[in-house]
Symmetry: D2
């Protein structure tokens, strides 16, 4: 029996039909390269419209690249990014911020369920600027968080305001921005929160590989294409990165599919016989589960990960079905 990856991550799903159809539709005729094509332009417009904001928009191949290039644009090598201790850029990107930023550091902050504790941020911002360590230059936030929770606009403002007051940058990792939006996060507030660079996740939202980098401050966007090209992130056939966004945004599938993923997480939580360790606010369910039971689940053919905080993570996606939720629910009931 081959392993089932339905709940292993939200990137184990295929791309949604709306994304693929748009990709196929964009694949006609000759066009100019490197993101100068009309498909890329149209996708940029749709993203600006979704955010209700003026911004430069680029499309890149991976979330790691999108995040690392963003923080490298906001920090110098002898500076650091403030981020949650379990943020993806801290734990799952193989040191990409340091690679793209030539040593850019990470200042890791605590906080329950993936949300940065404002008190820890205050302490970090109050540290004197000394030459022996990397002082902060940017705050990196993630919404929805790595623990499937949500920041409200007010919670984000409480974090971004003191950072902007210091003249520092703000990066928002929106690998699961669709899930946040579907859960009520108002995307039109992002710019006014002081976010400098936003990454709008395509892959986890159900697209073929693509992520949008949204640069609100046009000064930061100067020579950004050269930055991307040098970083291996300005593919010639740019329409392939832009088209899935068109398909998902024009049809409303971006939010609709995310709402479905969130609903599936809610159903899974309801069916879950193990203690749930974090609020289920987006498309993830984290539970307390010992090694024996996790092994048994793996043996039963369902692959899921033990996460950084020790709990076990179940992710839902646009492609998760009610039937599968019921199926794994029954398996879990037997293990509990």
């Amino acid at each position: 029996m081959s392993a089932r990856y339905d709940f292993a991550s939200d990137n184990t799903a295929p791309a949604a039909p709306e994304a693929i159809e748009a990709l196929v539709a964009a694949n006609t005729g000759f066009t100019s390269g490197y993101g100068t094509d009309p498909v890329s332009a149209r996708a940029g417009d749709l993203i600006r419209q979704m955010l209700d904001a003026d911004a430069e928009v680029r499309f890149v191949a991976s979330g790691t690249a999108a995040n690392a290039i963003s923080v490298a644009a906001l920090c110098r090598p002898f500076e650091a990014v403030l981020a949650h201790d379990h943020a993806h850029i801290c734990t799952d990107e193989t040191g990409a911020p340091g690679f793209f930023g030539q040593g850019v550091g990470l200042i890791r902050l605590g906080g329950a369920s993936g949300r940065i504790d404002p008190a820890e941020l205050t302490v970090a911002l109050a540290q004197p600027d000394i030459s022996h360590r990397q002082s902060p230059a940017t705050l990196s936030l993630t919404n929805a968080t790595e623990y499937g929770t949500l920041y409200s606009v007010d919670q984000l403002a409480a974090l971004t305001q003191p950072v902007k007051a210091k003249g520092y940058g703000v990066h928002l990792d929106g690998a699961r921005l669709a899930n946040a939006a579907a859960a009520g996060f108002d995307l039109k507030q992002i710019k006014s929160l002081g976010v400098d660079i936003l990454v709008v996740g395509g892959t986890k939202a159900g697209m073929a590989p693509t992520e949008a980098v949204v640069i609100f401050d046009r000064a930061l966007a100067r020579r950004f294409d050269a930055r991307l090209k040098q970083g291996g992130q300005l593919p010639s056939k740019g329409r392939f990165y832009a088209a899935p966004f068109i398909g998902m945004l024009e049809s409303g599938a971006f939010l609709r599919h995310a709402a479905h993923a969130n609903a599936m997480a809610r159903q899974l939580a309801d069916a879950m016989p193990f203690r749930i360790t974090h609020p289920v606010e987006a498309n993830a369910v984290f539970v307390e589960m010992d090694e024996e039971r996790l092994s048994a689940l793996h043996s039963a053919g369902w692959f899921v990960y033990r996460f950084l905080d020790g709990s076990v993570r179940f992710m839902c996606s646009w492609a998760t079905t009610e039937e599968t939720v019921q199926e794994i629910g029954q398996v879990l009931q037997k293990l509990a």
Copy 2:
């Protein structure tokens, strides 16, 4: 009238049906991520089979990334890559080798029509190792070359042998490897030539964005996935990078489309009223054309580039039709 990009590059074309169909076919069900899926495995097998060689195979998003990561794996920051003065890594990748290699240098060698002059290589290799400059550690070759010419196996061997004798690495940029193969270059000889890392171009061969990195020396492949992940080149939905290769290789379209592109270049050369400046051996035609005539061609709606050597380049691709060749041929006749 919007510009026509048919001859501007071989990456202005859409992806071929075989590539897209395979991509759509691969887009079913849940699967493990980051290149561990069966689609990626199958594509790797097909590439090993095409090369008749054991090797590690990875798929990345852009040729710039593929090349830069390759040379960074073969050089340290205080060393340099030997490459043709007009090689893509020297002229069109925004210094990506230096970025991925933290300052890796380029030693630019001359040679007619994009092929490195062996005498210049000999001189470069004979330079003493001194600490004030970046000594060579790798030779980077391109086949077919940037000028649409071909290296024969013997010509390549004459370049790789002295390099391997020094213990240096060899990188082969195969952005247009399909065109080279279709023109008679035997891909099964690549490993025995001493190539350490080969890039098999997908994009210009008619695929959606994807390039295969083939690492013949398994010692070099150690922790290569971490290298790719850190470099933003290990996308979660890896099957999207692998599937187009399956579609093109299983069907024979990889070579068949390249042969077509080469034939179109031959037809265009035959119809060309301007002096042809480089042998037409693959899918490019370079001609002598003054600024006035180039402007007129642009005004007539056909976009092509003036290249580094001053000649004007016309690229053909899998999607170039005989009709379009005739059409531009007639436009060019009027301008001549």
Copy 3:
């Protein structure tokens, strides 16, 4: 009253007469540059003799550079250095390993009084190699440690053996190697411990700015001068970095001064009215001291630092006098 820095660090002291005299003596006549001069050769011989080992020896300007260049030679950007959580490379070098190593990561291990807990090392080495994080490639040790304690040869062997068994490198930061040697650490065991690159501290030992980088594995030394030159660490007038080592080693002052510094720390510990928080085994005394008393000490004109573990650090050097120890001892008695 200007502040007194006698106990602030062991680099606030001037250079010892033996170092300066050698520097002045070396400053005669014309000589070849970039470390090819006879003074550099002689200093290298003395260091090899001290270590009873064959090795390449180079002299650089700062300990940060010496350490960062060493670990960059032993790790690739997508790999990491295992080091004590409070090691100088982790806490006081502004991310230099990441800068020189283009993102090289740090895996921070705990352990009492600056010595790595072997159990934590075991756990770190047992982690699977996964592409999402930087796996270890090198262990960095410090002797004497940042907390003024000593590793014995056996304690070091317990750390280096499992690391070498994995094929990883070992770096030894010897900023205070003289103090360790004076406290009984046998320098002739360093090579057999499996250390690949050793930094022999000059500055803190009482020299003008200079640090020796000792590369035991000659394969690692290939093109090391180019590495140094590119890193801004191959000064033309190399004799100025080598001469202080000659003065200190030929005269025995290297060990003698360190023994004095250690003795002064012992005396200061004896006079100390505050609880001592770490074993006094080299030239540092760490004590428990509240903020009010530290402020009072500063107000009394004596500058010392509160360290990472919260205790207050008093460093002794070759230039610390018994009188000064008594003087600050009396000040401290009044504050206690």
Copy 4:
């Protein structure tokens, strides 16, 4: 017979008495570290006074580091430095700008005798900003040049004005600024020329290893100490880098010694039986000399280099004596 390096470079000489005496004089008592000491402050004042300008001043260990850190502060990795094809940063620093700047590129401009041809600069500045190559962000100048010639203030202005008009930075490599000043270059004009960062050479001017980095634009100086620390260029015993400047500047030896070196070059030029290939305006004499005669000169015990343009270079320094000039003059007469 051991080789004589009197004319091999101006860094083969020992340090001048004024520099060494100041260094010895500064070596008393305890002081704060990392350039916060009174000696460093005093040296900074003297340099500001010499330049008649407000600026941040830092002292580093090598010219390569000083230059590379400067251009890295003025360029991003996907940008490039405009410099003379034979500028030291292009030819003799092992790619340090690319290392410190993570791939920062070099755009190499021609020009007779080491001075950039303004027409070549104009062409370079007129290139469109395209994402496939590294567009310029900074101009790097050298005065006196690598060919022992001088830029006048007007010649420099003709180069800096169009660069500043584009909003780009200007770096001035003053490894031989003393020689330029002694030859009439008005140091008080440097700031008004639009130079952003100036390197004032200490080593070649007759000091122990030290170079001053002068940052005219205070915004650029933000967190510069952290930049230096991370780059291994913020040594703890900073007074050793600052003191030589005090000795040389307070005594006037900085200019006096440079004037002597220039005069010696003039005398050597007068005695030279070979064709002189570049104007002798500072402390270098370049001549046309075949390989046989150069070999004979080496065999006679005098080491000099064949330079990049094929001519042979004789450098004079503060320590060059009239007797030595006569001595080598006679040797050369016999070879001619």
